[in-house]
């Protein structure tokens, strides 16, 4: 069963996961992008102890998800320390990712929201729309704000206000298989993969000279299909939503981006077979096993290759450049403060406590997530590591998804447009024009 990485899979509504479970579906959601496979089966520690809300001023209800063995100790130790230092009592709960959204929405709608919780940043617009969370501008400013990678901090910003503090982060860079490159007559140590045209040229050489499919392109009916295509769209200079908040997917730039993307399949035939049934997970597996030569992936691809000892000899370069520059997809989880919290100062104290640089370093290290604080990313552990450093660099140009309350509906519609173009059933222009028309209806609604 594909384990949907939570952060990259705009999941459905409240009961979606529960329903899947009831139906015997084992689609687990996992904490952060790429946290699948060998990465981290985030276990459930606390179980959903819904003791209800209504905390007193002295107690802070802190809800998080997917606290597994690798991070349990970190929380136990630090929670105790926080209680001791500040005199508050922490009511700490961890729910599984399966139940995260339903737990939160149910508690919010039932007036029993926690005081502070973690959640994928793409849920922020929905909760802001429900008027369930408070802006955190008085915290997210000055020195505190400066600690974050600006692009990471921006993932929580709506209408000029910060509604969350980024807690976990992932982005993507460009993986290639050194052995296959060598076989194709390319230089494995200095691959020329600087632009999309370079990627195409390399892919054509790999296709001509080896039996390995050159480029991993997922286009199955999953939201991650859009995640993989977005960098093309952005780097050609296109947007999903323009500055006025209106849909703008079918600009000339957008059409060029999708034309190039789909031509990899339809015209140049440099991808793995059957892109329309390949999920991102399938393609990632292909790369990890050495069965596809190039793939846009998270740091987890490298981690899985090392951990599972697949023997794939990989290299990582920055995302290729398009006419409008480089883009990587940034995905974050954030800490948010609920409007119903009784003691908001206590919540801010807690956030201040947990966003201490050393604590963040320890968290990122133990958890295997990208650092959210620049200073942490600059430490040797990350900055000097051949696997981590390209991703630290990509943080400079990573960009987040558009902030929409109905993001999953919009993304679903875009999946269809990408599939239409990749399957060759419609031209990129036609596919995007039709998507644009539907998006205009969705977003004005």
């Amino acid at each position: 069963m594909e384990q949907a990485s939570n952060i990259d899979e705009s999941s459905g509504d409240v009961t979606r996961r529960t329903l899947m479970r009831a139906l015997g579906g084992a689609g687990g959601m996992i904490a952060v992008a790429g946290c699948t496979g060998g990465g981290g089966g985030d276990g459930d520690s606390g179980g959903g102890d819904d003791s209800g809300g209504g905390s007193s001023g002295k107690t802070v209800q802190f809800l998080t998800m997917g606290v597994g063995d690798n991070i349990k100790g970190f929380f136990e130790e630090n929670n105790a320390k926080f209680e001791e230092e500040n005199g508050y009592k922490l009511d700490f709960t961890s729910v599984t990712w399966d139940n995260a959204q339903s737990t939160l929405v149910t508690r919010v709608k039932g007036g029993k929201a926690p005081d502070v919780s973690r959640l994928p940043s793409r849920w922020i617009p929905q909760f802001q729309n429900l008027e369930a969370i408070d802006p955190l501008d008085d915290l997210m400013q000055g020195e505190f704000l400066d600690k974050f990678y600006p692009k990471v901090a921006n993932t929580t910003k709506i209408d000029g206000s910060y509604y969350g503090v980024p807690w976990a982060y992932s982005n993507k860079a460009f993986y290639y298989n050194k052995d296959v490159f060598e076989e194709a007559g390319l230089d494995p140590e200095n691959p020329k993969l600087d632009t999309w045209d370079d990627v195409l040229a390399a892919a054509q050489k790999v296709t001509e000279n080896t039996d390995t499919p050159a480029y991993g392109l997922p286009a199955a009916d999953r939201l991650t299909t859009v995640s993989q295509w977005l960098p093309y769209h952005w780097s050609h200079g296109a947007d999903i939503i323009n500055d006025d908040g209106k849909p703008a997917v079918n600009s000339d730039a957008g059409v060029k981006g999708l034309e190039f993307y789909s031509s990899l399949v339809t015209e140049h035939k440099v991808t793995q077979s059957s892109p329309l049934s390949s999920t991102r997970h399938d393609v990632r597996k292909l790369f990890e096993q050495g069965d596809v030569a190039m793939h846009i992936g998270h740091v987890y691809v490298g981690i899985n290759i090392e951990e599972n000892k697949t023997g794939t000899n990989y290299g990582i370069v920055q995302m290729p450049e398009g006419p409008d520059g480089r883009y990587s997809l940034a995905t974050t989880d954030s800490m948010v403060m609920y409007s119903s919290a009784e003691n908001k100062d206590a919540v801010k104290d807690l956030l201040n406590f947990y966003f201490d640089t050393d604590r963040r370093f320890e968290y990122s290290k133990k958890k295997g997530f990208m650092p959210v604080l620049e200073e942490v990313g600059n430490r040797d552990y990350f900055a000097e590591d051949p696997l981590w450093s390209p991703f630290i660099e990509a943080s400079q140009y990573a960009r987040s998804r558009p902030k929409l309350a109905n993001l999953s509906e919009v993304t679903n519609r875009l999946v269809k447009a990408v599939q239409e173009a990749v399957s060759g059933r419609k031209s990129a222009e036609k596919a995007l024009n039709e998507a644009q028309a539907d998006l205009e209806e969705m977003i004005e609604a």
């Binding site: 979606r16 329903l19 059957s274 999953s408």
Partner: protein
């Protein structure tokens, strides 16, 4: 007091109300005994159905806590959307093919398992296995079989020289539904076989003996004894199978999520996508109501036609 005695009562002199009251007085224990079940069913079946019907007339986006009454707007949108008719066709196609094959295969297997063959017990158990595995797991297995890079299907076809390059059954919008239906048939056939086998074993042996004496061939015996005798069993099995196949969710969802390009979506998949992925609960409720109506009409017609039908199936 039996109904027979009740009928003997001088009921002419009583009004309807008194009659009802006295009937209830006589039968209150029966009603008292079934009340808990009725309450329970009302709570878990009737209420959700009514709530869904109500919701179909509202707009209920996930992004707000407000439900807006929109009357027939959801239904208007659905009926004016060409995709809805594609969806109906895909659902019908899926149900018709799957149920037909499951029934025929089930009958075939049952007839064979009813013979006195060696290892009959083993085969009976073995044939039940697909039905005992959770559907979603079977669907995952099929997804792997049909997986273009690592799947058995490609490996076998390549070895046999039937194809010269990997094919992705589930990645081709025109045939993906056949890739998914294979899993559904594999899962659903054993149930049919077991039901038919039970039916076959209740057919009196004398009928076949008499037919054999009259010189009827195997096929004639099957046609004029087995099938008519099995008729009630076939009726129930196909009706159940139709309903289950119509509302079947996990196989398609696990294998294709209704894709690529919505080519494997059935009504149920679409309800799920609309309601739980895209967060339009009102619209999903409208689709559900339409599905409910279709099944209800089908079930009533099916039973009627079947009950009136003579010997012919």
């Amino acid at each position: 007091m039996s109904s027979f005695e009740y009928a003997q009562d001088d009921s002419e002199s009583q009004g309807t109300v008194e009659r009802a009251v006295s009937y209830l007085q006589d039968h209150w224990t029966e009603y008292a005994l079934i009340t808990p079940s009725i309450v329970f069913l009302a709570a878990v079946v009737l209420y959700p159905i009514l709530e869904t019907l109500r919701l179909a007339f509202y707009e209920s986006p996930r992004t707000s806590t407000v439900e807006v009454f929109v009357g027939l707007q959801n239904f208007n949108e659905i009926f004016s959307d060409p995709f809805f008719y594609q969806l109906l066709w895909q659902t019908f196609r899926w149900v018709a093919l799957a149920v037909t094959i499951k029934t025929l295969l089930g009958l075939l297997i049952a007839v064979h398992l009813n013979q006195d063959i060696k290892g009959r017990k083993f085969f009976r158990t073995a044939f039940l296995i697909p039905w005992g595995i959770p559907y979603a797991i079977s669907a995952v297995i099929f997804r792997w079989i049909e997986q273009p890079q690592y799947g058995y299907l490609n490996a076998i076809l390549l070895k046999l020289g039937l194809i010269d390059q990997q094919i992705g059954l589930l990645g081709d919008p025109s045939i993906a539904w056949l890739g998914a239906i294979a899993a559904d048939i594999w899962i659903g056939t054993p149930f049919m076989a077991i039901i038919f086998l039970a039916g076959l074993q209740s057919i009196p042996e004398e009928l076949y003996e008499a037919a054999a004496v009259d010189g009827a061939y195997r096929w004639v015996q099957f046609r004029y004894i087995t099938i008519p005798q099995l008729k009630p069993v076939i009726l129930i099995a196909t009706l159940l199978s139709t309903i289950w196949t119509f509302v079947g969710f996990d196989v398609i969802w696990t294998m294709t999520r209704g894709g690529p390009l919505d080519s494997t979506a059935t009504l149920v998949i679409w309800i799920y996508k609309t309601g739980f992925e895209n967060g339009n609960l009102g619209m999903a409720a409208a689709y559900s109501s339409i599905g409910f109506a279709i099944l209800l009409v089908f079930a009533i017609l099916y039973l009627r036609i079947y009950m009136q039908g003579g010997e012919e199936i």
